[in-house]
Amino acid sequence: MIYIGLAGIYLLGIFFLGIFMPESAYEVNYAEKLIPPCADHLFGTDFMGRDMLMRSVKGLSVSMVIALLAAGVSSVLALAFGVAAAVFGGKLDAIVNWCVDLFMGIPHLVLLILISFMLGRGAKGVTAAVALTHWPELTRVVRSEVLSVRSSQYVRAAYKMGKSHLRVAWEHVIPHVLPVYLVGVILLFPHAIMHEASITFLGFGLPAEKPAVGVILSESMKYIAMGKWWLMLFPGLMLLLAVMLFDVIGENLKKLWNPDSGNE
Amino acid sequence: MEQKTKQEILSVEELSVSFSMYQKGLRKGNLEVLHKLSLSVRAGEILAVAGSSGSGKSILAHAILGILPGNACMDGRMLYKGQPLTEKEKKGLRGREIAFIPQSVDYLDPLMRVGKQVRGVRGTKERQRELFRKYGLEEGVERKYPFMLSGGMARRVLIASALMEDACLIVADEPTPGLSERLTEETLKSFREMADAGCAVLLITHDIDLAFKAADRIAVFYAGTVVEIAPAEDFRKGKEALRHPYSRAFLEALPQNEFCPLPGFQPYAAKLPKGCLFAERCRERNEMCMGEIPMRKVRGGEVRCVHAR
């Protein structure tokens, strides 16, 4: 519980700090360019004299917003597909399974590039790409969970009492599947953040003038040979930390809600 | 009376085993599953340890072999051929002089061919083939995987494994459940052969019927301890020949006798009563039962009851 709380406070802190941060916090100041980390600039400054701590926080927050959107879309898709496949079974189940296999049959990054290319790159492209490609695994989880509830006694009893498919799904299946689903959504977050940063880094995502982690790291590449290590070290560490904390939250919630799943 | 002169192979004195585990609220607690248990087996003898399922009999087998999990803690003394049997000794003896016969085919590595498993780490191919012939296993069996074995074959394979090396003490944990009558007979016959060859056999079972048929002596197991050890013929004679009220109740509960089950349950290991563990369900209970109950010798057997005469 303590871990979840601390991780949550840190992540929410970055999220809101970034959203409400005035642009002046990371504005261009040529008088102070490429300063190594010091008391005034904990993470140093970049080639335009912008404060790297502020840029990193803002960048991570932007990534989180995109991940939030993406996780929202992907998780709704996954819930709909997974529940539909398991409840109606038969052909629909086969089709959903096939679609999952199809999306998993192509490397995720290649798929992201294709979708973002289709939408003409930029913020719209990366958001859509990340949103449309994160549902397959969660769909599988939801489907198998629903299947296990469906074969249970009380659901069969509900059918016998003459309740409709939709009503059974709403009253029995969704409440049971919800915890597993929510953990799945939280665990989807780090993937979404990482993928956004990855394709932005490659140049497909957010435009260069946006303070995104991917942009910051791809800019830092030009300065590595000059030994300006702080440009890449701290933003990357913050990204890594954020990804790991989301994992920590997800895994701990999993243990909390379902003690049997703990493998220790 | 001839048995008395034979060498005592294993002697367990006042053995207690407890597990440290996390209980509700993540508090560390100690759960004692065996309490001051004493018994001994001699060469050429089959001793059956009989008790109802879930009373911790397997723990006894694991303790003798030194394969308890890491959170287990042992107290008491074990002697092997008169010498103290420490964990270090067990390491050297198990598989060599002390053999274990497990319950089922689940105890075989599913991905290893049977022959290789029977040979173990030190066995030779000649000995394995010899044993396979002895137990009527075809040569092809050694190249099979465990999942391909029938129940009878699996049983014979497990027995052959125990005899790969020169075992002096054989510990068999529930070796017959799920076997047909014919296979049970066959298994018991092989135990008798082992005993006749000079082995001491410790047969752990929940099936008192089986114990009558196979054993020379029977140790009655209740709530983690042995309440009575008596010659098997006493059990065949009927309840009057027995010493402990639980042994008598155990006998009464059998279908071929009165078929009248004893009311109540065995006490849970975490909430043991003081004094006699059986007192709660005993008809002869009085104040004397609340104190320490030692194991006493009565009429050629041993019993842990103050009333026994």
Binding site: G105, V110, F117, S198, G227, M232 | P110
Partner: protein, 324 residues
């Protein structure tokens, strides 16, 4: 013969998926706002009108999408993958040239992450709950969460720039002609990208192997093995590896998809001229034929991994025949 039948079914299912993936890629690129003709010849083309007509006819660019896909698929199967705009060479040549580099890189990373991850995982499981286990677990979790490109930047800045142990990029030393480049040059240039690429897999394989072996260690047959006098070393050797190696290798094959994604990132950090950097270049340059070619290649790669995993299971698992 259920085994053969199952094998046939698996191959068939994977093949249909492969075809479907090609259709999906085609549709996605088809839906892009780029004009089809421009997509095939680029914006600054100097081709004559007749040549343009020829391309339109050859690829069916004025026809409905289905016909166009069939045309493309037909050409593709016949070996005509189109002309790359970015590299001004046939797509097939570009891919063939670059696949060599990438395959070497992926193979190295795959083996490295597999061996290291497996060893770490086994060690952690044997020492479950002890310090060694905790260190390996934390380390693997970190590796698993680390962005590949950032790890690359980290290595680059530390080992190549600060310590000067490794070259800063490329697959061969600058200024050397192709004949002068030795095998050692190539290996020397491959080390950092390969290690970068293996980071993700090492963490995953270690965690997977650890969990699997702990599961096995709790099985009854391990207890029996101990009762028969096997030492810890003998148990690992006789039962541990036997029961964990195959699942680990299967998972390792199934990781081909992530491996392919990884090369795009690792190669762009190290300016390594493989198929990953070609993918990035094609995407950024609007090079549709190359993009499509690489997408199909990546799907074939994933297909091969899945197929290998499935076949391996059938060949090595004695119980497979009775399961299916």
């Amino acid at each position: 013969m259920t085994r053969l039948k199952y094998m046939g079914k698996t191959v068939l299912r994977l093949l249909t998926l492969l075809i479907a993936v090609s259709i999906l890629s085609f549709l996605l690129l088809e839906a892009s706002p780029v004009d089809p003709l421009t997509a095939y010849i680029g914006t600054d083309s100097t081709l004559s009108e007749e040549a343009k007509e020829e391309i339109i006819r050859h690829w069916g660019l004025k026809e409905p999408p289905v016909t166009r896909f069939l045309k493309w698929a037909g050409n593709f199967v016949c070996g005509d993958w189109g002309e790359s705009i970015t590299y001004k060479k046939p797509v097939k040549t570009v891919i063939a040239e670059r696949l060599k580099y990438s395959l070497a890189l992926m193979l190295a990373a795959w083996l490295f992450s597999g061996i290291l991850g497996y060893a770490f995982g086994m060690l952690a499981a044997v020492r479950q709950g002890k310090l060694t286990d905790k260190v390996i677990k934390t380390f693997s979790l970190t590796l698993q969460s680390a962005p590949v490109f950032w790890i690359g930047l980290l290595f680059l800045s530390f080992f190549a720039v600060r310590l000067g142990w490794f070259p800063i990029g490329l697959a061969t030393p600058m200024g050397k002609t192709a004949e002068e480049v030795t095998v050692f040059d190539r290996i020397y240039h491959m080390i950092l990208p390969a290690v970068t690429l293996s980071v993700l897999g090492t963490g995953k394989t270690a965690l997977y192997t650890r969990q699997k072996f702990i599961e096995i260690l709790n099985k009854e047959f391990i207890l029996y093995a101990r009762a028969r006098g096997e030492s810890t070393g003998q148990i690992i050797w006789r039962h541990g590896i036997r029961n964990t190696l195959m699942p680990a290798v299967t998972v390792q094959f199934a990781s081909f998809s992530e491996l392919f994604g990884g090369i795009a990132l690792a190669e762009s950090v190290f300016s390594y001229p493989g198929i990953g950097s070609a993918l990035t270049a094609a995407g950024l340059g609007g090079d549709v034929p190359l993009l499509l070619g690489i997408a199909v290649c990546s799907a074939v790669f994933v297909f091969a991994g899945n197929l290998a995993a499935n076949l391996l299971y059938l060949v090595l698992e004695p119980r497979a025949g009775s399961f299916v």
